[in-house]
Symmetry: C2
Subunit: 301 residues, 2 copies
């Protein structure tokens, strides 16, 4: 039997583990809630039992993890993770590997998503691109020649935290005016408040869908909010292209469903904030793999 | 006789050509004013006569040019250049090479400066770094493993045009709020106006030196302006590191003379706008080669 891989997407409350065949098909998917297992050694045990169970289906040659936060793929260490305050300098790769005796690799979750799209999704025909995952924050990944570009510090691709408005909206990272405080679900919340559109206690991760439905129903305020969202996102993308010279952009995350309400202002904003020659080359693609991207990407190491 | 190289720095009004030995020494330097030679074919003739003259001193194996504007090093073409409106899709490499029968290479001037510092200056011991040349605008260059990173469109490193203030100061590029409208000589002009400090018709490229002298003389407004300058520059550098993951920064350009007035606010601003782990790794270096960097860098291709 050909050995398979396990791709694991570590979320804030759920963990999703996919058994992935050599041709990139998810054979089975397990979803578990991780409340109560947050402390590092408990989490290692939790992962070990999950992997041991999956091993009953197929022999495994590699386990890849996508983890939110400041992660060193090279050293296999999580320096900090927003949902796991206990994780500081957590050598998760080494610890898990010594338990399960299978090769383990880790990376930032947004990087794994970009890698998944690069090999199996919207980036299949692209050698290099920038990926932005628009969720409650913004995940970023730089793909160069089909590989993640990590930079020298290991943390490249923090697109959500480039500053687009000096002293702007407060951000969860402690800074102000970060791109993700304008062009994400959280950003839409800020924009809605400014526009005087009530969100009626809708949870952060559903703000975009609520506003989308409002826009579909003809709510002009909601339409205006998406227009503004596109303008900010365009500023961010223009800056990213100006810095990296990489002009294929893949947009992922649930907010894409509202693209007809923000694509025009997005493109206009990109043109406004780049040289003509630069703007001409920029192409916007939309992700194809949804929440499978991170699992598939995690197997590509 | 060992063949030498010519490194040429194409400025807005002056051209400086250096005869460079194989160990990176500038043996002789020629400076010429180029008024009246701006039309492409005249400019090729102008360069040819300059190079032919230099050839009398030593046989030449390579001529490298640093040119301001949107330049494709790969294709040898200048798409546009701020001081030369006649230069559109100007195939300068091919045209010059066929005239002088010596290998010619070109690149953006800020890239050549970065390459010069990488091989002979502040970046000598660094494999990878980001270079910002703070002049009337901001020139940018990304060095990865001692080479210029051009991105896929060829125009990586346009650091001056990342947006730090939505709808902020108007920029020569047509956009608004670009980093270089705050953290360059032009930026200091804007900041001085806002602070109510009169610049008495001082030309743009001397604003920084004037303010520096004012600060040295105890002018608190001038000191405050440099402090603000540092804050904006810090926002820009934080965004650059967040995107690229490259955390060695080399600052060049004449404004460095005022570093004691902006370095504290610059470092504070970087810390404010990055994660702790990211901030810890960021190192600020100052360029060592002055206006020789571009000439030396142009020979490294």
């Amino acid at each position: 039997m050909k050995k398979m891989q396990i791709g694991i997407d570590v979320g804030g409350t759920n963990i999703r583990a996919g058994l992935v065949s050599s041709d990139g098909k998810i054979i089975s998917l397990t979803k578990r809630t991780i409340t109560g297992h947050k402390q590092p050694s408990l989490f290692i045990n939790f992962l070990t039992s999950l992997i041991n169970e999956t091993k009953k289906i197929s022999p495994i040659k590699h386990v890849g993890l996508g983890i939110p936060g400041i992660v060193s793929a090279k050293d296999g260490i999580v320096f900090s993770s927003p949902h796991y305050p206990e994780w500081e300098n957590f050598s998760i790769q080494k610890q898990l590997q010594s338990k399960i005796k299978i090769r383990v690799s880790i990376d930032n979750d947004a990087n794994q998503i970009a890698l998944g799209e690069a090999h199996f999704g919207a980036g299949k025909k692209l050698n290099s691109f920038l990926m932005l995952t628009l969720g409650t924050g913004i995940g970023g990944g730089i793909i160069i020649n089909k590989k993640i570009f990590h930079g020298t510090n290991g943390f490249a691709g923090e697109f959500g935290h480039i500053v687009v408005v000096k002293d702007g909206n407060p951000c969860g990272c402690g800074s102000r005016g970060c791109l993700e405080t304008y062009a994400s679900q959280t950003g839409l919340k800020h924009l809605s408040k400014k526009a005087g559109l009530s969100l009626k206690n809708i949870p952060d991760e559903k703000v975009g869908h609520f506003l989308f439905e409002q826009a579909v129903g003809g709510n002009t305020k909601a339409k205006k909010i998406f227009e503004e969202f596109g303008t900010y996102l365009g500023i961010g993308i223009a800056s990213l292209v100006n810095v990296t010279g990489i002009d294929n952009i893949v947009l992922g995350g649930g907010l894409s469903e509202a693209k007809k309400y923000f694509l025009a202002s997005l493109k206009k904003s990109i043109r406004t904030h780049t040289y003509k020659k630069t703007a001409e080359g920029i192409k916007i693609h939309f992700a194809l793999l949804g929440d499978k991207a991170g699992i598939l990407g995690a197997t590509q190491k």
